[in-house]
Amino acid sequence: MDAFSVFNNPHKFMGASKPFAWGFTLLGVAIIVWGIYQGLYVVPADFRQGDAAKIMFVHVPASWLSLFIYLFMACASFISFVWRSPLADICAKSCAPIGAVFTALCLFTGSVWGKPMWGTWWEWSDPRIVSVVILFFFYLGYMAIWQAMETPQKASRAAAILCMVGAINLPIIHYSVEWWNSLHQTTTFLTDRQVTTSEYKWPMYITFALGYLALFGGLTLFNMRAEVNLRRAEMLIQRKQVAA
């Protein structure tokens, strides 16, 4: 039970999280840099898509992270809403900007890939694209609630409700290509044995996914630490004002 007390006690969390924050961040940066080098210099062009297939190494793991981070936020919001855990809403709040960046990256790289492959930068009739845009708006709305509400207690409840409601979008995103007609294919690479890039597909996807995941973990811990410091500072300032 001592391990779990780190997640319930902000003071213990601050003491335990610093090495992990640095470790995950540096590991994530190193893996991503290595992945970019591999993607640009080592991996050969795809048989059908040419070098444009390399955009998928950035795009697909970014989409995985955008969904995973929102799911993580929804779980943290649930814990915050039900058990009023002090660190749970801090965790969800800390994840949101990172998730929004990965979602925007997914949308941008998908658009850049779509122009040479589909002949269009954007397609509003594509259910996958539209559902991911909705996810991006959920991220922005979540962050806006934290900025707009007068007190952290009100913001925490409202933001948690929004986050949990928005989680219904996750299976919609995943199954959109099966439920509706979509430009978005279920597999990017062809299964032709002559396709040399297919040998690198999963190693590159996993490399970028691990790099993104490590970076997300490190930056979330840093954001949480910053949030704990800010709340403690606010508490001290309010105590001083009350005493005055």
């Binding site: 961040t25 940066v29 991503i32 970019i36 993607g39 640009l40 210099y41 062009a45 040419g50 070098d51 444009a52 390399k54 955009i55 950035v58 795009h59 970014a62 900007p97 990172i98 960046v101 925007a104 990256l105 941008f108 790289t109 850049v112 890939w113 122009k115 040479p116 970076l215 930056l219 840093f222 954001n223 630490r225 910053a226 949030e227 410091n229 800010l230 403690r232 500072a233 606010e234 001290l236 300032i237 105590r239 001083k240 005493a243």
Partner: protein, 53 residues
């Protein structure tokens, strides 16, 4: 520079934006952490001055 085919501008755009976005995220997180620590230090310094005899 890597040798790429006719899709080079698209690849450089995608990787370039990814690098800028992730580097920006790291810089923003670091700036936020530094600002929060400064605010806490200032608040604790004020608290310490008031509790001194």
């Amino acid at each position: 520079m890597p040798t790429l085919d006719k899709y080079a501008p698209y690849i450089f755009a995608a990787y370039g934006v990814a690098i800028v976005a992730l580097a920006g995220l790291v810089v923003w997180t670091a700036w936020r952490a530094i600002q929060a620590k400064k605010k806490l230090d200032a608040a604790e310094a004020g608290e310490h001055r008031e509790t001194q005899p």
